[in-house]
């Protein structure tokens, strides 16, 4: 059953194609989307279990042996990321049922969401650098259209910025891939990993490494390449913002992790990690300070995405097994908590009519359940025990202290405090203070069924946060094993080069 590896890519692709004829019948599209997301979640869990039990799983398309064919490979890191993507895909497809308007559904919202997942899963599972480029593009074109779908002036403006920076980063990626092929003669990640140490003409390798870092850095929104993110993520409907916030930047972080531990293993990686060690605290601090100035709920959360990316980059830069395990868990925790917060921002908007914190208030008394869900997600993001964020931060900070990076660790702790400050700001403004009464009560109230569709995903994600927090040990074991596997590039090489025929 190696085909299990292809399912996360094929299933959403086939679903998207099946949806296309049903443009006039949104009910069919919704049903297909929801069904496919459930199956996807099951398949992703099966994949994770299999990789956990049997080690790295490899599929060579049509039986062409590596490095000549198209390689799909899943180690624990990939499998965990695919599982997280499936969870967010599922919750977003439920959330969309409650929040996406008819007009957008008419213009292929649901198929685009599936195609976005095709690209994301492809990027997580591919074992080839050029294919990674292709999957990035699949992901990008879907995200472009999702971002601009609806065509309001604000969306158009945000999309112009997002498209321009991403096309630029694609050109840089392509250049890097070209140079790397010229130097090494292969683009299969496992093959590169085996060949790069022996290459004599090494002058170009640092160039390639830095070009790749810039490309992935743009995707991941690290300092100073993040300005497109808070300029665009707050413009589309909340369901789109949420899946972008949860998954897209993390694809960039995943690519950094994969390329600089599996593909580059020598001095080039060390060089990149030294750069990342400087970038990490800057990303954290700049992001959180940007957030502190904002009063628009989604812009505030967007800046927090940037800030949190800093922690993941810090973990990657430390490179000890504990740090990588912490970084991986941090990614998963952040995907869950951040998406949940964006969903909540949508519910707040639905209840009060705006995202502007200054104009709203009194939600604690009118929506106590929403307040509780917000507290769980927000405190998890800030890192308060016993929620998931506490363990994630604990691992990263412990690893930072062990490795002697006291200054950056100090910055991480400070930023943690500022994150708590911003979350409390949202709490005070939206939930705690009295309704300032600037706005008339929303005229149209959503019916109960649609509201339930918006609450259900948040409840699911908050359950995951609580589960991670309260039964941390199995999660820790899994992260530690994934980190061990990732740092042992030899096992990945062997698995890809020798295994994988159908």
């Amino acid at each position: 059953m190696k085909l299990l590896l292809a399912i996360p890519i094929l299933l959403p692709l086939v679903t998207a194609l099946l949806m296309l004829p049903f443009r006039e019948r949104p009910v069919v599209q919704r049903g297909l989307g929801l069904g496919a997301s459930v199956v996807q979640a099951v398949a992703a869990m099966l994949l994770l279990i299999r990789v956990h039990e049997e080690g790295i799983l490899v599929l060579q398309a049509s039986g062409w042996a590596a490095p000549f064919g198209i390689t799909l490979a899943a180690d624990l890191l990939s499998a965990v990321m695919v599982a997280a993507a499936a969870l967010i895909g599922l919750t977003t497809s439920i959330y969309s049922l409650g929040s996406i308007d008819r007009e957008r559904e008419h213009f292929f919202y649901h198929p685009l969401m599936q195609l976005l997942l095709v690209g994301i899963n492809g990027a997580f599972l591919t074992g080839d650098l050029f294919n990674l480029y292709v999957w990035f593009e699949v992901m990008l074109i879907s995200s472009f259209v999702l971002l601009v779908l609806g065509g309001t002036p604000r969306q158009l403006e945000g999309t112009v910025k997002y498209v321009t920076i991403n096309l630029l980063s694609s050109a840089i990626f392509l250049s890097a891939v070209g140079i790397l092929y010229g130097v090494a003669g292969t683009l299969n990640m496992a093959d590169l990993s085996a060949k790069l140490p022996a290459i004599e003409q090494r002058e170009l390798l640092p160039v390639v490494a830095v070009l790749l870092l810039v490309t992935f850095g743009v995707k991941a929104a690290i300092f100073p390449l993040f300005f497109w993110l808070p300029a665009s993520y707050h413009t589309p409907p909340v369901a789109v913002s949420a899946i972008f916030a949860g998954l897209l930047t993390k694809v960039g972080v995943y690519a950094i992790m994969r390329v600089f531990t599996t593909v580059f293993t020598g001095p080039e990686s060390e060089h990149v990690f030294r750069i990342l060690m400087v970038i990490a605290p800057l990303t954290m601090v700049v992001g959180v300070l940007g957030a502190a100035a904002q009063y628009d709920l989604r812009k505030l959360l967007s800046f927090h995405i940037v800030s949190q990316i800093g922690y993941m980059v810090f973990a990657i830069a430390i490179q000890s097994p504990l740090a990588i395990a912490g970084g991986l868990f941090y990614i998963v925790h952040n995907i869950v908590a951040k998406t949940s917060l964006f969903y909540i921002s949508g519910i707040i908007r639905e209840k009060s009519g705006v995202f502007q914190l200054k104009k709203i208030g009194g939600l604690y008394s009118s929506e106590p359940f929403l307040a509780a869900l917000f507290l769980v997600s927000a405190l998890a993001l800030a890192g308060i025990p016993p929620l998931s964020g506490f363990w994630a931060k604990l691992m990263v900070i412990r690893a930072g202290l062990d490795a002697g990076h006291y200054l950056v660790t100090g910055a991480a702790l400070l930023v943690s405090l500022l994150t708590l400050f911003s979350m409390i700001k949202i709490w005070n403004e939206a939930f705690w203070k009295d309704d300032p009464g600037i706005l008339p009560a929303p005229v149209e109230r959503l019916d109960g069924r649609r509201m339930a569709m918006m609450y259900l995903p948040v409840v699911m994600l908050c359950t995951v946060i609580l589960f991670f927090g309260l039964s941390f040990e199995p999660v820790y074991d899994l992260s530690a094993r994934a980190a061990g596997q990732l740092l042992d590039a030899g096992s990945y090489r062997n698995a890809v080069m020798q295994g994988g025929r159908l």
């Binding site: 910025k161 630029l168 050109a171 092929y181």
Partner: protein, 121 residues
Amino acid sequence: MTLLLALITGLFYGAGIYLILRRSLVKIIFGLMLLSHAANMLIFSTGRLTKGAPPFVPDGATAPLGSFADPLPQALILTAIVIGFGLQAFSLVLFRRSFEELGTDDVDAMRTTDRIEGGDA
């Protein structure tokens, strides 16, 4: 020949970067196009320019004999051209629509989503 190609590639990169630094959306999209072509030509030249040696396998052999031109970069470029074409076509439509909706193609005027008060209503 390689030198010529290198010079042209460099020119494309230079012109592309110059154009994306301009303020007009039209110039930016031209710049992005030039950059993606520059990347394609870079891949082409890193595959080495080998003249008159097609990578054909003669009868009875399992690999091409002697030196042969590497066909892979061309396959990569072909893929990249198709992807680039799609993305650029999309961007053109997007930029045109933004010009119509926002009434300007000056990127310096597109600042509402960056401003603190520029959030959603």
